[in-house]
């Protein structure tokens, strides 16, 4: 399985020193097949190819400008033999404006209670905005993965969508990959991205009258806001775990839950 680009995986790869990676037997320093693929893409797109990243032996990322999104998809299909469309989606890189108050009571026990500044809704939770592989400049990013079965290579394409949640626009990929139609419908309802030229941009998963875009970071989980996670009362000690400590933490959790409910 290829690793998806995420803030976590990037942090992990940066923490491993280069010498240590070279010591492992399966580490491939130069991935020629993927370098060739990127070279072809760079020759076609020129400056529209903003940034790239290669994880040798695993995956390749290419960030293109939003204007050349369709051109990149067309070239991936015709020029790079990426005939298989894997997925198309989007990412909202903004740190949650709710801080950690969306965390369950279980998380609070494991990770410790957040400090009061981060807990206040709208307060400066202020984690750095992550960008993932191949970088990014804006809050929203479009991403898609296509695969070349004949070469055994995949390619993840990304494009910056902008920061304004009301002005998310991208050209549709439906003429290039017909299978993108449902993926774009999902990205449209989950993130509010308007795919210009899409033949049938209607709800796919959500009921027709649904308001909001659930996969945006500023979409609140209302159920959790009015009620702390109730499952903590059922926590049983793991086999071999010290039951006394678990009992006290469970009692604390119940007190926390009661206090939160009272507030």
């Amino acid at each position: 399985m290829s690793r998806l680009s995420s803030a976590d995986s990037r942090a992990t790869s940066e923490e491993i020193p280069a010498t240590e990676a070279a010591d492992t037997e399966e580490a491939i320093e130069v991935d020629e097949a993927r370098e060739d693929l990127l070279a072809d893409l760079r020759a076609e797109l020129g400056d529209a190819l903003v940034d790239t990243h290669i994880d040798p032996g695993r995956e390749v990322w290419a960030r293109v400008s939003l204007e050349s999104w369709v051109a990149a998809g067309t070239f991936a299909r015709d020029g790079l033999a990426c005939h298989f469309f894997d997925f198309l989606s989007a990412i909202d890189w903004m740190p949650s404006p709710f801080g950690r108050d969306m965390n369950s009571q279980e998380d609070l026990i494991v990770d410790g209670a957040p400090d009061s500044a981060a807990q206040a809704p709208g307060g400066a939770a202020a984690d750095e905005q992550a960008t993932g592989y191949a970088g990014g400049d804006t809050r929203f990013q479009l991403l898609a993965r296509v695969h070349a079965p004949s070469r055994g290579l995949g390619l993840i394409l990304k494009a910056d969508l902008g920061d304004d949640p009301d002005l998310l626009r991208a050209a549709t990929w439906v003429p290039v990959y017909a299978g993108a139609a449902w993926h774009e419908r999902e990205a449209w309802e989950m993130f509010g991205i308007d795919f210009e030229g899409h033949p049938n941009l209607i709800h796919l998963y959500l009921p027709g009258e649904f308001e909001g875009h659930p996969l945006r970071k500023d979409f609140p989980l209302l159920s959790r806001r009015v009620k702390p996670w109730p499952g903590i009362v059922d926590v049983e000690p793991m086999p071999g775990e010290d039951e006394a400590t678990v009992d006290t933490s469970e009692a604390d959790a119940n007190e926390d839950a009661t206090e939160a409910a009272a507030e």
Partner: protein, 166 residues
Amino acid sequence: MGLVESGKMPKPMTKLLNLSRKYSLWMYQWGLACCGIEMGAALASPRYDMMRLGVIPFPASPRQADLIVVSGTITDKMAPSVRRLYEQMPDPKYVISMGSCTNCGGPYWDSYSVTKGLDQIIPVDVYIPGCPPRPEALLDAIAMLQAQIIDEDPAERWKGEPLVVS
């Protein structure tokens, strides 16, 4: 036929009819998610063999069903369809809610898209806890429902339009 109109009938007849209703429950299966696998195991496997309890799990439509077992996550998008199929069933009708998702939303209780319990849209007779419940739990629920049916007055269960036999 006038005797059983809208479930009203003389006492001895009630007992007799309840006995036969109890052992010929036509059960409509609504396996909406993973609990449906456990329901399938209870219905179709020789180990559990639910038909020995008089449950007949093959009605062609909800209009021929006495009992429904809703098992699995109900989303807000699916909820109107669940309600509509329930309304098509003839009286008296029974509902078993199988699994945590159907009971209360289960692990998805805080999701933006999941209905927090089947009883928010239709009345439920028996709840089966579990995630998922074992097939034996479903058999137990059927036995509980049968114990309820044998003592009840069918006329009280008659919620909808009166049945007119000409």
